[in-house]
């Protein structure tokens, strides 16, 4: 199962792209997070949330979504 991962805010600048497809399999949100942090080490310094199929989920949740979003908090006003 292919998943689409989209990047928001400064995460897009870290990854250098607004989205990509992954073919790897992941058990949990956490395992996907670890995979992405290895691929993009700068993500380690950042606090962000992951949504699957438009629902923001806990790291311990089972990864079932096909659309994954990485959301950092924004600061600007």
């Amino acid at each position: 199962m292919k998943i689409k991962v989209r990047y928001f805010g400064q995460i897009k600048e870290i990854t250098g792209k607004s989205d990509e497809y992954l073919v790897e399999q992941f058990e949990t949100v956490q395992s996907l997070k670890s995979f992405l942090k290895k691929r993009y080490p700068e993500l380690n310094a950042l606090n962000f949330k992951i949504a699957q199929d438009n629902k923001i989920d806990e790291d311990s949740s089972h990864l079932h979504g096909t659309l994954i979003d990485l959301l950092p908090p924004f600061s600007g006003g």
Binding site: S18, N54, I56, F74, S75, G76
Partner: protein
């Protein structure tokens, strides 16, 4: 005269009754910047009965690209005060209050308790978490908005016991983790759109509409026209933590938080500080153990007479009143990193002897 709210009243969803609700409502806008300006304009135009504007900062030239309540004549003036004057011209029938100082953990309860809905127009996490925590304690609704370059986020927190900002982002970012306001650019219209979304949600909540952004995070990207709506759940542990403590939990990251006052208790002995005495030369006590520069408030200073280096500039006087006026003067001259000491000269003298 034609009723100024006619176009609202014509809507069956609003009507006379709905318009009366708006006119009885009380909204506090914290931060009269990119988000606050458009939100304030629409809320004033809509006839929100009592509108509070809080901002410690002054208008600078780089604000004018997006903070549309201000013009070139306002440079150096306090944003809350200027916004109040401008908005009064738009609607003289409502009460508009200006609070030209920062929201702090000490005053947050006093001000949030005066209003029903709080619009988060801040540019820093410190104030955002303060608002969030106090809204939980005081049972007020917080309308969140924030930006990054061409993107924005909007949400509604603590609405009818719904999720809070801490449910979305439980751990506050560390200093430097998220680029701060002065490091990142933003397309001027982005805060215009996000601030207008915030005003929209405020009016919907006042009118009792069902479908508000509670438990939902709206992410807007103006570059690719995508609007994405995310659902998120309430985290009872986060909310209980605040309720049990019965007070806000100030976060450590004070990046971009504008507060003119600093206390001796907040300073460490190895910090680089340029001390400025704004008292007259004959006032006692003189400070004996610290290097002091003297700029009595009564004398005018040219902007280049104080050279801004790495050191934090801290002005002091006998009580902390004149030093505040001095800091305001410095800000007007574009000098940043300048603070007013909360304590007076004798406390500073004792502090200087000890370090």
């Amino acid at each position: 005269m034609e009723n100024r709210y006619q176009r609202h009243i014509q809507l069956t969803e609003i009507g006379t009754e709905g318009q009366q609700k708006i006119q009885k409502s009380k909204v506090l806008v914290v931060g009269a910047g990119g988000l606050g300006c458009p939100a304030l304009q629409y809320l004033t135009a809509a006839g929100v009965g009592t509108l509070g504007i809080m901002d410690a900062d002054v208008v600078t030239a780089s604000n004018l690209q997006r903070q549309i309540l201000f013009n070139e004549n306002d440079l150096g003036k306090n944003k809350a005060v200027v916004a109040q004057e401008r908005l009064r011209q738009l609607n003289s029938e409502i009460i508009i209050k200006s609070y030209p100082f920062a929201l702090t953990h000490e005053n947050v309860a006093d001000f949030i308790n005066l209003f029903e809905i709080i619009i988060d127009g801040t540019d820093n996490f410190y104030t955002r978490y303060l608002i969030n925590d106090q809204c939980i304690l005081s049972q007020k609704v917080m309308i969140y908005g924030a930006l990054f370059k061409f993107e924005g986020q909007v949400s509604v927190f603590n609405h009818k016991d719904g999720p809070s900002y801490r449910c979305l982002f439980p751990s506050p970012p560390k200093v430097g983790e998220i680029p701060n306001c002065s490091e990142v650019g933003v397309l001027g219209v982005v805060p215009g759109i996000i601030g207008t979304y915030q005003a929209t949600e405020a009016l919907k909540i006042i009118l009792g509409f069902e479908d508000v952004l509670s438990g939902k995070l709206l992410c807007v990207n103006l570059l690719n026209h995508s609007n994405t709506l995310f659902n998120f759940e309430k985290r009872d542990t986060e909310i209980k933590k605040i309720k049990k403590l019965k007070r806000v939990i100030p976060i450590e990251n004070k990046d971009c938080f504008v507060d003119f006052e600093v206390s001796l208790t907040q300073l460490s002995s190895n910090e680089k500080i340029m001390w400025i005495d704004v008292r007259e030369k004959d006032e006692a006590p003189r400070i004996t153990h610290l290097e002091i520069q003297e700029y009595p408030l009564s004398r005018s200073i040219t902007s280049n007479s104080i050279v801004q280096g790495e050191a934090k500039i801290i002005a002091f006087c006998q009580t902390g009143l004149r030093s505040k006026a001095f800091v305001q003067k410095m800000k007007n001259k574009g000098i940043k990193n300048c603070f007013s000491l909360k304590e007076g000269a004798s406390e500073l003298n004792d502090w200087g002897r000890k370090i």
